[in-house]
Symmetry: C2
Subunit: 205 residues, 2 copies
DNA sequence: GTCTATAATTAGATAGAC
DNA sequence: GTCTATCTAATTATAGAC
């Protein structure tokens, strides 16, 4: 029987992506073979090439899809630019932590597997990553202009904050000590500290 | 000629490790072949097996060597436990940043390639990593006891701080905007903020 | 200590049957 | 849309010459 009864392209396409994400997050892109992905999906290796022209494109599509969805999600419920920077930073941190906990595998892949992208694909993904970083930088700059944030070096504070916030995806476990919301609250506090928010200064006394 | 004149085992051994570190940092462990390493060293692939029983051991030895050296280096110039926590934190941050800039490749490998370690090797390396994390946790705990640090959640602050500090190895470039010492100084400031150090509170007013 | 040669396995990708 | 079969190339690791 060459075609399983009940088989359907779109469903398989989704399963291929899910299996690839799971396996790549666990073992790394280069360590995962097309045959492993196929086995996980329950098809033969050759069938995967109905859904991707090659292995490299599979990785690029996962990362592009993730980053575009991340940016779109933020746009969909970002505060408008007139809101105070401190409220925007809180909103951003909660968004970032929730998103990074909910989609830990894609997040993990998108920053661990940059090395495995070919030049052109790397450039595209890196552009998306940078536009996400700029969201933070913009909020920190606005807060300094408002006089509510006091950070010495905006660029370095941005890099430090992104690294700090994104780190959650390396250790979060569903059965961990804290529920996602409690984690987010603590990260909001720490983000305020890094930004030198005046509120925090008072709270620390 | 089966053996090159002037060849010497110890020198080659060092070259193998250096080449492996450089290539793995750039492309990832699974993506680097023994032949690539051999080519970089200037020997044939078979000759590598004089220095490592297999590819997996090569990775484990790199990571183990790095972490043991990291821990030893800290021990060698760690402040004694009687020093104020705030001074110990500053010393730690400067040590960490300098070390992570100087040995960026090994650092990078040791946290990117954990997935590629077999179970037993992973457990060993993970133990070393955790003992390094505990250094930070201990300083934060001591500072809270002294009343000079005010952080809400010691464990989470530790994780956030490690992630923030280690992030430097993902973006540092020798020809970048800031020299290592200036970077370290800014990270000391940010570490104090995260820890809720009183000094910083005053400075922010 | 290193080379050459090679065994054994596995990889990515394609062709053609159904 | 999927399978089976297969091509080609690359991989880890070993054996034996020098």
């Amino acid at each position: 029987m060459a075609r399983k009864s009940g088989s359907s392209g779109e469903k398989t396409r989704a399963m291929v992506e899910e299996a690839a994400i799971r396996l790549i997050a666990r073992h790394g892109f280069a360590a995962v073979s097309m045959r492993q992905i196929a086995r996980e999906v329950g098809v033969q290796a050759g069938a995967l090439y109905l859904y991707t022209p090659d292995k490299q494109s599979l990785l690029r599509d996962i990362m592009r899809g993730h980053l575009e969805h991340l940016l779109q999600s933020w746009q969909d419920h970002a505060p408008d630019a007139e809101m105070p920077a401190i409220a925007r930073l809180e909103r951003f941190v909660r968004f970032h932590i929730d998103y990074h906990i909910l989609r830990a595998e894609k997040v993990f892949i998108s920053y661990m597997e940059l090395r495995n992208l070919e030049q052109e694909n790397f450039a595209e993904i890196e552009r998306l990553r940078r536009s996400y970083e700029h969201l933070v930088e913009e909020i920190l700059t606005a807060g300094a202009a408002e006089g509510v944030f006091h950070h010495a070096d905006t660029r370095l504070t941005t890099l430090a904050m992104i690294a700090m916030l994104t780190g959650v995806s390396t250790w979060y476990r569903d059965d961990g000590r804290l529920p996602p919301q409690a984690i987010a609250t603590r990260y909001v506090d720490m983000a305020f500290r890094l930004a030198g928010a005046e509120q925090l200064v008072e709270a620390a006394e």
